[in-house]
Amino acid sequence: MKKRDLYIIVLLMAVALTGLLLSRPGLLANGEANFAAEDEKKGQVVIYAGALEYKRIDLKEPQTLVIDQKDKYNEISISNRGVVMKSSNCESQDCIHQGEVTVDNIESRALESWIICLPNAISIELVKGEVQ
Protein backbone atom coordinates (compact mmCIF):
# COMPACT_ATOMS: atom_id res chain seq x y z
CA MET A 1 0.00 0.00 0.00
CA LYS A 2 1.26 3.43 -0.94
CA LYS A 3 0.63 6.88 0.43
CA ARG A 4 -1.56 7.70 -2.58
CA ASP A 5 -3.73 4.68 -1.80
CA LEU A 6 -4.32 6.05 1.66
CA TYR A 7 -5.25 9.47 0.23
CA ILE A 8 -7.86 7.84 -1.99
CA ILE A 9 -9.22 5.72 0.84
CA VAL A 10 -9.41 8.71 3.19
CA LEU A 11 -11.08 10.83 0.49
CA LEU A 12 -13.72 8.20 -0.29
CA MET A 13 -14.26 7.61 3.41
CA ALA A 14 -14.81 11.33 3.96
CA VAL A 15 -17.36 11.42 1.13
CA ALA A 16 -19.15 8.41 2.59
CA LEU A 17 -19.21 9.77 6.14
CA THR A 18 -20.47 13.17 4.98
CA GLY A 19 -23.22 11.45 3.05
CA LEU A 20 -24.02 9.29 6.04
CA LEU A 21 -24.33 12.23 8.40
CA LEU A 22 -26.32 14.32 5.91
CA SER A 23 -28.81 11.56 5.22
CA ARG A 24 -29.15 10.46 8.83
CA PRO A 25 -29.33 13.40 11.20
CA GLY A 26 -30.41 10.92 13.89
CA LEU A 27 -26.85 9.56 14.10
CA LEU A 28 -25.63 12.64 15.96
CA ALA A 29 -28.35 12.44 18.60
CA ASN A 30 -26.08 11.21 21.43
CA GLY A 31 -27.00 7.61 20.77
CA GLU A 32 -29.93 7.86 23.16
CA ALA A 33 -32.67 5.42 22.56
CA ASN A 34 -35.17 7.91 21.27
CA PHE A 35 -38.25 5.82 21.19
CA ALA A 36 -41.24 7.71 20.01
CA ALA A 37 -43.66 8.74 22.67
CA GLU A 38 -47.00 7.02 22.56
CA ASP A 39 -48.73 9.93 20.85
CA GLU A 40 -46.00 10.09 18.22
CA LYS A 41 -46.61 6.56 17.07
CA LYS A 42 -48.50 7.81 14.12
CA GLY A 43 -47.54 7.45 10.57
CA GLN A 44 -48.51 6.48 7.12
CA VAL A 45 -47.22 4.02 4.62
CA VAL A 46 -46.62 5.32 1.13
CA ILE A 47 -46.26 2.74 -1.60
CA TYR A 48 -44.68 3.63 -4.91
CA ALA A 49 -44.77 1.62 -8.11
CA GLY A 50 -41.86 3.01 -10.11
CA ALA A 51 -41.94 6.76 -9.63
CA LEU A 52 -45.69 6.89 -9.17
CA GLU A 53 -47.39 6.95 -5.81
CA TYR A 54 -49.59 3.91 -5.76
CA LYS A 55 -51.26 4.12 -2.40
CA ARG A 56 -51.08 5.93 0.96
CA ILE A 57 -52.29 4.03 3.99
CA ASP A 58 -52.54 5.20 7.58
CA LEU A 59 -51.08 2.96 10.27
CA LYS A 60 -54.46 3.07 11.96
CA GLU A 61 -55.81 0.87 9.21
CA PRO A 62 -53.83 -2.39 9.46
CA GLN A 63 -54.24 -4.54 6.37
CA THR A 64 -52.54 -6.81 3.93
CA LEU A 65 -52.15 -5.37 0.49
CA VAL A 66 -51.46 -7.32 -2.66
CA ILE A 67 -49.89 -5.65 -5.67
CA ASP A 68 -50.25 -7.77 -8.74
CA GLN A 69 -48.68 -6.33 -11.88
CA LYS A 70 -48.81 -8.98 -14.58
CA ASP A 71 -45.93 -11.28 -13.57
CA LYS A 72 -44.84 -9.25 -10.56
CA TYR A 73 -46.45 -10.08 -7.26
CA ASN A 74 -45.91 -8.39 -3.90
CA GLU A 75 -47.72 -8.84 -0.63
CA ILE A 76 -47.34 -6.02 1.88
CA SER A 77 -48.50 -6.31 5.45
CA ILE A 78 -49.30 -3.14 7.39
CA SER A 79 -49.77 -3.33 11.15
CA ASN A 80 -50.41 -0.53 13.61
CA ARG A 81 -46.69 -0.23 14.31
CA GLY A 82 -45.12 -0.54 10.90
CA VAL A 83 -44.93 -2.24 7.57
CA VAL A 84 -43.23 -5.35 6.22
CA MET A 85 -42.96 -7.07 2.84
CA LYS A 86 -44.67 -10.39 3.43
CA SER A 87 -43.92 -12.08 0.16
CA SER A 88 -42.65 -11.29 -3.29
CA ASN A 89 -42.06 -13.36 -6.38
CA CYS A 90 -38.79 -11.59 -7.16
CA GLU A 91 -35.61 -13.58 -7.48
CA SER A 92 -33.40 -11.79 -4.98
CA GLN A 93 -35.91 -11.65 -2.09
CA ASP A 94 -33.93 -8.67 -0.81
CA CYS A 95 -37.14 -6.87 0.09
CA ILE A 96 -38.11 -9.72 2.43
CA HIS A 97 -34.69 -9.68 4.09
CA GLN A 98 -34.95 -5.94 4.65
CA GLY A 99 -37.45 -6.78 7.36
CA GLU A 100 -39.98 -4.58 9.04
CA VAL A 101 -39.94 -0.80 9.27
CA THR A 102 -41.53 0.51 12.43
CA VAL A 103 -41.87 4.02 13.80
CA ASP A 104 -39.11 3.15 16.30
CA ASN A 105 -36.51 1.39 14.18
CA ILE A 106 -36.13 3.85 11.29
CA GLU A 107 -32.84 5.31 12.59
CA SER A 108 -31.23 1.92 13.04
CA ARG A 109 -32.04 0.50 9.61
CA ALA A 110 -29.58 0.59 6.74
CA LEU A 111 -32.32 1.63 4.36
CA GLU A 112 -33.95 3.89 6.94
CA SER A 113 -37.68 4.24 6.35
CA TRP A 114 -37.66 2.32 3.08
CA ILE A 115 -38.34 -1.18 1.85
CA ILE A 116 -37.34 -1.56 -1.77
CA CYS A 117 -38.05 -4.39 -4.15
CA LEU A 118 -35.82 -3.62 -7.12
CA PRO A 119 -36.90 -6.33 -9.58
CA ASN A 120 -40.58 -5.43 -9.18
CA ALA A 121 -39.91 -1.67 -8.92
CA ILE A 122 -41.92 -1.37 -5.72
CA SER A 123 -40.74 0.96 -2.97
CA ILE A 124 -42.42 1.48 0.36
CA GLU A 125 -41.80 4.38 2.69
CA LEU A 126 -42.95 4.80 6.26
CA VAL A 127 -43.60 8.47 6.95
CA LYS A 128 -43.83 9.47 10.59
CA GLY A 129 -46.51 11.82 11.77
CA GLU A 130 -50.11 12.70 11.33
CA VAL A 131 -51.94 12.37 8.05
CA GLN A 132 -52.69 15.71 6.45
Binding site: M1, R4, D5, I8, L12, H97, Q98, A110, L111, A121
Partner: protein, 181 residues
Protein backbone atom coordinates in the same frame (compact mmCIF):
# COMPACT_ATOMS: atom_id res chain seq x y z
CA UNK B 1 -6.47 -11.76 -30.95
CA UNK B 2 -4.32 -14.85 -31.38
CA UNK B 3 -5.01 -18.30 -30.02
CA UNK B 4 -2.88 -17.74 -26.98
CA UNK B 5 -4.77 -14.65 -25.86
CA UNK B 6 -8.14 -16.26 -26.59
CA UNK B 7 -7.19 -19.21 -24.40
CA UNK B 8 -5.89 -16.98 -21.70
CA UNK B 9 -8.91 -14.71 -21.62
CA UNK B 10 -11.25 -17.72 -21.56
CA UNK B 11 -9.38 -19.21 -18.62
CA UNK B 12 -9.54 -15.91 -16.78
CA UNK B 13 -13.26 -15.59 -17.51
CA UNK B 14 -13.81 -19.09 -16.14
CA UNK B 15 -11.89 -18.26 -12.97
CA UNK B 16 -13.87 -15.04 -12.53
CA UNK B 17 -17.16 -16.90 -12.98
CA UNK B 18 -16.26 -19.57 -10.45
CA UNK B 19 -15.13 -16.96 -7.93
CA UNK B 20 -18.36 -15.04 -8.49
CA UNK B 21 -20.34 -18.21 -7.92
CA UNK B 22 -18.63 -19.29 -4.71
CA UNK B 23 -18.78 -15.78 -3.40
CA UNK B 24 -22.53 -16.22 -3.05
CA UNK B 25 -21.87 -18.67 -0.24
CA UNK B 26 -19.79 -16.21 1.75
CA UNK B 27 -22.33 -14.10 3.55
CA UNK B 28 -20.43 -11.06 4.78
CA UNK B 29 -23.53 -8.97 5.40
CA UNK B 30 -26.60 -11.07 4.83
CA UNK B 31 -29.11 -8.39 5.76
CA UNK B 32 -27.61 -5.74 3.50
CA UNK B 33 -28.41 -6.26 -0.17
CA UNK B 34 -25.69 -5.69 -2.73
CA UNK B 35 -22.71 -6.10 -0.42
CA UNK B 36 -20.31 -8.79 -1.53
CA UNK B 37 -16.61 -9.48 -1.53
CA UNK B 38 -16.06 -8.93 -5.25
CA UNK B 39 -13.46 -11.66 -5.68
CA UNK B 40 -14.06 -11.59 -9.44
CA UNK B 41 -12.39 -8.20 -9.41
CA UNK B 42 -9.04 -9.82 -8.62
CA UNK B 43 -9.12 -11.47 -12.03
CA UNK B 44 -9.98 -8.19 -13.68
CA UNK B 45 -7.12 -6.47 -11.85
CA UNK B 46 -4.81 -9.20 -13.08
CA UNK B 47 -5.96 -8.54 -16.65
CA UNK B 48 -5.49 -4.78 -16.24
CA UNK B 49 -1.96 -5.11 -14.91
CA UNK B 50 -0.58 -8.06 -16.81
CA UNK B 51 -2.50 -7.80 -20.08
CA UNK B 52 -4.08 -4.55 -21.28
CA UNK B 53 -7.22 -2.44 -21.59
CA UNK B 54 -8.68 -4.37 -24.51
CA UNK B 55 -8.43 -7.69 -22.68
CA UNK B 56 -9.79 -6.20 -19.48
CA UNK B 57 -12.90 -4.94 -21.28
CA UNK B 58 -13.38 -8.27 -23.09
CA UNK B 59 -13.03 -10.13 -19.81
CA UNK B 60 -15.51 -7.85 -18.05
CA UNK B 61 -18.10 -8.21 -20.84
CA UNK B 62 -17.60 -11.99 -20.93
CA UNK B 63 -18.13 -12.22 -17.20
CA UNK B 64 -21.28 -10.07 -17.29
CA UNK B 65 -22.73 -12.02 -20.22
CA UNK B 66 -21.93 -15.49 -18.88
CA UNK B 67 -22.91 -14.86 -15.27
CA UNK B 68 -26.14 -13.33 -16.60
CA UNK B 69 -26.85 -16.48 -18.62
CA UNK B 70 -25.79 -18.84 -15.86
CA UNK B 71 -27.23 -17.39 -12.69
CA UNK B 72 -27.76 -13.64 -12.40
CA UNK B 73 -30.57 -13.29 -14.96
CA UNK B 74 -31.26 -10.27 -17.17
CA UNK B 75 -31.75 -7.81 -14.32
CA UNK B 76 -28.63 -9.00 -12.59
CA UNK B 77 -26.69 -8.68 -15.83
CA UNK B 78 -27.87 -5.08 -16.27
CA UNK B 79 -26.62 -4.25 -12.78
CA UNK B 80 -23.28 -5.92 -13.23
CA UNK B 81 -22.82 -4.36 -16.66
CA UNK B 82 -23.36 -0.86 -15.27
CA UNK B 83 -21.18 -1.54 -12.25
CA UNK B 84 -18.54 -3.32 -14.31
CA UNK B 85 -18.27 -0.61 -16.99
CA UNK B 86 -18.08 2.30 -14.56
CA UNK B 87 -15.68 0.49 -12.28
CA UNK B 88 -13.36 -0.60 -15.10
CA UNK B 89 -13.26 2.88 -16.64
CA UNK B 90 -12.48 4.44 -13.26
CA UNK B 91 -9.84 1.81 -12.47
CA UNK B 92 -8.08 2.42 -15.79
CA UNK B 93 -8.31 6.18 -15.25
CA UNK B 94 -6.90 6.14 -11.73
CA UNK B 95 -4.14 3.78 -12.79
CA UNK B 96 -3.27 5.99 -15.73
CA UNK B 97 -3.42 9.39 -14.07
CA UNK B 98 -2.41 8.71 -10.50
CA UNK B 99 0.48 6.93 -8.90
CA UNK B 100 -1.39 4.34 -6.88
CA UNK B 101 -0.80 0.65 -6.22
CA UNK B 102 -3.09 -2.29 -6.88
CA UNK B 103 -4.92 -1.63 -3.63
CA UNK B 104 -5.85 1.93 -4.59
CA UNK B 105 -7.03 0.80 -8.01
CA UNK B 106 -9.02 -2.02 -6.43
CA UNK B 107 -10.69 0.30 -3.90
CA UNK B 108 -11.70 2.73 -6.65
CA UNK B 109 -13.03 -0.20 -8.69
CA UNK B 110 -15.08 -1.61 -5.83
CA UNK B 111 -16.54 1.74 -4.82
CA UNK B 112 -17.51 2.72 -8.36
CA UNK B 113 -18.92 -0.73 -9.02
CA UNK B 114 -21.35 -0.08 -6.19
CA UNK B 115 -22.07 3.46 -7.38
CA UNK B 116 -22.84 2.20 -10.90
CA UNK B 117 -25.26 -0.36 -9.54
CA UNK B 118 -27.07 2.15 -7.36
CA UNK B 119 -27.43 4.54 -10.31
CA UNK B 120 -29.00 1.81 -12.45
CA UNK B 121 -31.24 0.80 -9.56
CA UNK B 122 -32.37 4.40 -9.21
CA UNK B 123 -33.28 4.46 -12.89
CA UNK B 124 -35.25 1.23 -12.61
CA UNK B 125 -37.24 2.05 -9.49
CA UNK B 126 -37.11 5.78 -10.22
CA UNK B 127 -36.64 6.70 -6.62
CA UNK B 128 -34.04 8.82 -4.95
CA UNK B 129 -34.48 6.86 -1.74
CA UNK B 130 -31.57 4.61 -2.69
CA UNK B 131 -29.17 7.52 -2.22
CA UNK B 132 -29.35 6.98 1.54
CA UNK B 133 -27.85 3.56 0.92
CA UNK B 134 -24.93 4.90 -1.11
CA UNK B 135 -22.66 5.89 1.85
CA UNK B 136 -22.98 2.38 3.25
CA UNK B 137 -22.07 0.88 -0.11
CA UNK B 138 -19.07 3.22 -0.44
CA UNK B 139 -17.75 2.15 2.96
CA UNK B 140 -18.26 -1.52 2.17
CA UNK B 141 -16.57 -0.94 -1.19
CA UNK B 142 -13.51 0.51 0.55
CA UNK B 143 -13.26 -2.50 2.85
CA UNK B 144 -13.75 -5.17 0.19
CA UNK B 145 -11.56 -3.20 -2.23
CA UNK B 146 -8.61 -3.29 0.17
CA UNK B 147 -9.06 -7.04 0.63
CA UNK B 148 -9.38 -7.93 -3.04
CA UNK B 149 -6.62 -5.48 -3.92
CA UNK B 150 -4.25 -7.19 -1.51
CA UNK B 151 -5.17 -10.58 -2.94
CA UNK B 152 -4.74 -9.34 -6.51
CA UNK B 153 -1.37 -7.85 -5.64
CA UNK B 154 -0.07 -11.24 -4.53
CA UNK B 155 -1.65 -13.03 -7.47
CA UNK B 156 -0.04 -10.67 -9.97
CA UNK B 157 3.32 -10.91 -8.23
CA UNK B 158 3.47 -14.70 -8.12
CA UNK B 159 1.54 -15.76 -11.21
CA UNK B 160 2.96 -13.22 -13.59
CA UNK B 161 6.37 -14.93 -14.02
CA UNK B 162 4.60 -18.04 -15.36
CA UNK B 163 3.90 -16.10 -18.54
CA UNK B 164 7.24 -14.74 -19.62
CA UNK B 165 6.35 -15.06 -23.31
CA UNK B 166 4.77 -12.09 -24.99
CA UNK B 167 4.83 -10.08 -21.81
CA UNK B 168 7.20 -7.50 -23.07
CA UNK B 169 9.78 -5.76 -20.97
CA UNK B 170 7.56 -2.75 -20.70
CA UNK B 171 4.81 -4.71 -19.04
CA UNK B 172 7.15 -6.52 -16.69
CA UNK B 173 8.71 -3.27 -15.62
CA UNK B 174 5.36 -1.68 -15.17
CA UNK B 175 4.16 -4.53 -13.01
CA UNK B 176 7.29 -4.48 -10.91
CA UNK B 177 7.07 -0.75 -10.45
CA UNK B 178 3.51 -1.01 -9.27
CA UNK B 179 4.18 -3.83 -6.87
CA UNK B 180 7.53 -2.72 -5.51
CA UNK B 181 7.58 1.05 -5.57
Amino acid sequence: MNTQSITRISLLAAVALVLGFFERFIPIAATLPGIKLGLGNTVLLYAIYVMDKKYAFTLMLLKVLLSGLLYAGFNGAMFSLAGGLLSLIMMLAIKRFSDVSVIGVSVVGAVFHNIGQIVVAMFIVQTRSLLIYLPILIISGIATGILTGAVAGHVIKYIHPIYPRKTKNLQTKRTEKVLNP
